[in-house]
Symmetry: D2
Subunit: 339 residues, 4 copies
């Protein structure tokens, strides 16, 4: 597998720098016959777009996707699916100050060491901008999995934004909760208050970490491979491949050692195991929590750099995409388990 | 990549069921000229062996490794390195009861669904027994990385065992702390008390979760790839590929949202970032925490199944091996970054 | 590796149908710091373009490449290099007749079986049009290898076109012979006569097979891996991945059994081994012959389909590109052979 | 994919030096539920064994395979299948002379350059001895494909041995011809004469090249992928990965340019296309010819080295194994072509 590729069967290769001509993806491994849902693609892209929701960064990204190959008359052809979005509103001049003043917490300096010279025009590949390609690919993965397993639903939501945290896991009941209809994807009554909090933070040049919840309802059963490619391993890699993540929890997560085994395993609920046992999906809901550090673009630099005071809300469609990609990969993988 | 393989450049394929003839690994990708340290291999295997340390399971595994290929006159040849250990003390009769009584928390039933019929003789591939192959492979990875980066040191230790937790991160100072010289790899004065606690738990058929700490001192700098193969992503996948894991934290981990950005990023210490920024190693120490649920083999079944009351101590050399494998993979990967 | 991907280290994924919006490639694995030679890219594309040389098909392809990512200020960034060309002159109406009348020797029917429904607009992925993406990628591979091994030169030429065959292997002397300066890449005095022959064949709806010679001068030594990835194996796969190929010969090739071992191995020349021994390049010239069947688009259908009476001349830059890609892959691979 | 691995879905990793402790393979990707035919495995191993048939080398290899994992109660488990044979009759002393006198045509010197130091004990990985692992793996591939496509039959035979050549392609009629019941796998009345010819050649220290025919009857249809993994490309790579091969022909092969297109494509027979069109199998028989150079171990060195005067007869089960592996890979690959 290459550095910018993901998946063993539903494989994607993403490309594009944040301030280069375009970003995109080639999916090599999507079966023929998947109904292509362009509305879904646009909706997912819209959700990760900054500037729409107050409290996220003001960069205007139109992100109109162009389908370059692999789709014809509303279905996938079985050939590679190439998609891209152009970078229209790059404004590299905003970043001129960054070039002189490397930001702690950003990859500016580490990338320079790695690749001789790097593209300072916005962080190159290590910008959050690359995630647009993940959403392009993840949307197709979603189309494929949903066609085979219509009940399967993946919902990411803001579980904690700075000091604000949901009191309990939302009840999705296997259906797609319109979590993203709430401001900041924070499904609580005080979501507007949280938004105002972030707007103020943006003005103050402050930033906050947070927690994203990821709920996979009705996952296809028996996904995962026995040793290294346990479903929990691949999902964790997927989540931790997103920038600014610092921890990932499955089910009981960091509270796993709070119960004795006789208590932990006696429960009829899957909350502790979170729908994955022995590395395989059981078909029960999977619950994950992904932790994010505060964004590093703060103070004066950030004001010009138009970055987010909290990365969690914009990361939600990205996390969902990574989860769809992981499921799609294992759904295909499963086909060669048995004779 | 295949289901039982790991790594993109330093690639391993493991094999073996817990009660089949043998377990082992083929390493396809280890360069020629690595000094083969057989003593290190034996030491690592000894550490994961059950029954040696009071408080771990009583199964007598000799685990004498046999080198089948790839090593000659004390050096690796550049050809595949195949190694195996035979299963001498299998006692499948102990598991006859398990066949009739599937264990909650074990993979017995999920694997049956996946592969038609599965090997009930001890859990097949989903047994902790498969980790012996990881230690075989990880030891060679360790030899390679240490030859190139002698200061690099990886230490896993028990940070929490049931109710007992270390009060702070041990000061490794970039040197290999003999954490495994402490009972249960728990580097604290009350380690013996904790061991007695587990011995009692084993008698009572009780089990406990815990937390392993993983400290990587003096890691090679600039390891990691920009998007999907961030070092933190590959390390997380590595850790979460071990059985019974439920969460993985890097640096500040689940406490990342407790600080404002102005606080989080102002610190000169790398404790928050944990030596990985922009997905790349900075050369500073990397700190991870891996959480484990209580082992599921409890009560009557467990008494006969000779399982561990807490999996953390035995997992330590496995976690170290997975970390070495991940570093080895990226050390080779790094060689093709630049022209 | 995916269906439309090539290479283990210098990896490419191509995309695009012959009558879809665009064709292109993502290179994931090109090191940072390669000097990007856009003139070379344009020259290579021009050589595979139809309609320029009399005797090749009349479709006007402008093939202006667009660099979407991975190149900045004249050098590769180490990030994925995405490139594409738009399909401007598709004329799908020309193929309406083909839809009704499947062509023997074409993939029209076999692809339909494989992927449910396929894109009849010119053969989809199985059209020679897809090779434009190979030339895009191969040109970058050429830049990389040439930067590291300036003397290395790859020349493909028409060795046989229908009844016309070169009397001997041209003497390239390790330098790039301007074989493509001859009509049809046929480096002989009667090249113009051969061209006239093909022009007549095109009018008559007739087609011819032929042989391409491939000469690799001053290849980097020690390329290749011991068992499955012998250099000759990977080169053969590369050549036989091009449409209409029917055989590939290395060195003595199909005449290898004409000499006794005492004769074959006594010669001081490398002509028999062709610069590859034990699966590895020795640094001596490599000579291959690639055989092509007559193109299948003949008679009435072909007249409208604007196809080639002999595929060899247009295949030359494609064969060179595949050879460059194979060398580039092994040049990177070689970097992890030794500690 | 690693240097010693083959296949994208039915993946194998082979190991072992010719004079090390053992040779073997791990198959990671064989589905669960394949009926394990141990008799077939032994029969295939027996066929490649030297010394049994007069005219092949005198080294006594018992090659008793040991199944280390992945098979239980007569079926594959879906877990990795590890198999090995021990090297019992190594006699490294025979090769002491070789160490001092490198053999032209052998890899002795090229491998030394590649890997610093190499194992002179018989050529290490570049010995024909490594093919025993291919036969182990290929036999399992054969079991899998035959279970799904019982009519599929692959037969390799000696088509030419030195000056002796079959006058025509044998009529296999889709059934397994017992070609290997003939001396040297040469299905002709004068097979005994050819054997006597080789016995004399062995005494004289002479060697000969030859041609192997490969007939695939009733192949599964629609195998192959559109661009780089055309079935003909993967089969060619498979054949050319065997030592001493110099050319591979499919169907009309090197005679493809002898006919005009109007002649070539008018024939109702598949002999020209050889059952592969557009890179895909049509279900019709596939015919290939694989050319071998004379073995290089001649004269005085060879007399002690116990090598073959003609490699073709012993290569036959290896070629069959590589073909089975390629089919098995594409049979699994085909499962993810469509939604």
């Amino acid at each position: 597998m290459s550095a910018n590729s993901w998946g063993n069967h539903f494989k994607i290769s993403t490309f594009g720098e944040s301030h280069g001509p375009a970003l995109g993806v080639v999916i090599d491994g999507c079966p023929a016959g998947v109904l292509f849902n362009e509305a879904l693609l646009l909706e997912n892209l819209k959700r990760r777009r900054p500037g729409l929701t107050a409290g996220t960064s003001a960069r205007a990204e139109n992100d109109m996707p162009e389908i370059l190959s692999g789709v014809y008359q509303g279905r996938t052809l079985g050939t590679p699916i190439a998609m891209m979005v152009r970078n229209l509103d790059a404004r590299p001049q905003d970043y001129s100050e960054i070039q002189k003043q490397p930001r702690t917490g950003h990859a500016d300096d580490v990338w320079k060491d790695k690749f001789f010279h790097t593209d300072h025009r916005g962080g190159g590949r290590s910008s959050g901008r690359e995630t647009v390609a993940r959403v392009l690919a993840g949307s197709v993965a979603q189309m494929m999995v949903k066609q085979l397993f219509p009940e399967c639903a993946i919902t990411a939501f803001s579980k904690k934004i700075g000091p604000y945290e949901l009191s309990s896991w939302p009840n999705f009941s296997g259906q797609l909760l319109p979590a993203h209809h709430y401001p900041l994807g924070f499904p609580a009554e005080n979501a507007t208050e949280v938004r105002d909090f972030l707007i103020k933070a943006q003005k103050d040049g402050e930033s906050y970490g947070g927690i994203a919840g990821l709920d996979i309802g009705h996952p296809p059963p028996s996904l995962g491979q026995p040793v290294f490619h346990k479903l929990k391993s691949d999902l964790s890699a997927a989540m931790m491949s997103v920038g600014a993540t610092t921890a990932v929890e499955l089910g009981a997560g960091v509270t796993s050692s709070e119960l004795k085994g006789s208590e932990f395993h006696s429960s009829p609920t899957s909350a502790h195991y979170s729908g994955i046992r022995g590395g395989l999906s059981t078909g029960e809901p999977v619950r994950m929590q992904i932790h994010f550090k505060p964004t590093s673009s703060i103070m004066d630099v950030a004001k010009k750099g138009r970055h987010d005071p909290c990365i969690v809300p914009r990361a939600l469609p990205v996390l969902e995409s990574m989860a769809w990609l992981t499921l799609a990969d294992h759904v295909l993988w499963q086909r060669i388990d048995k004779i």
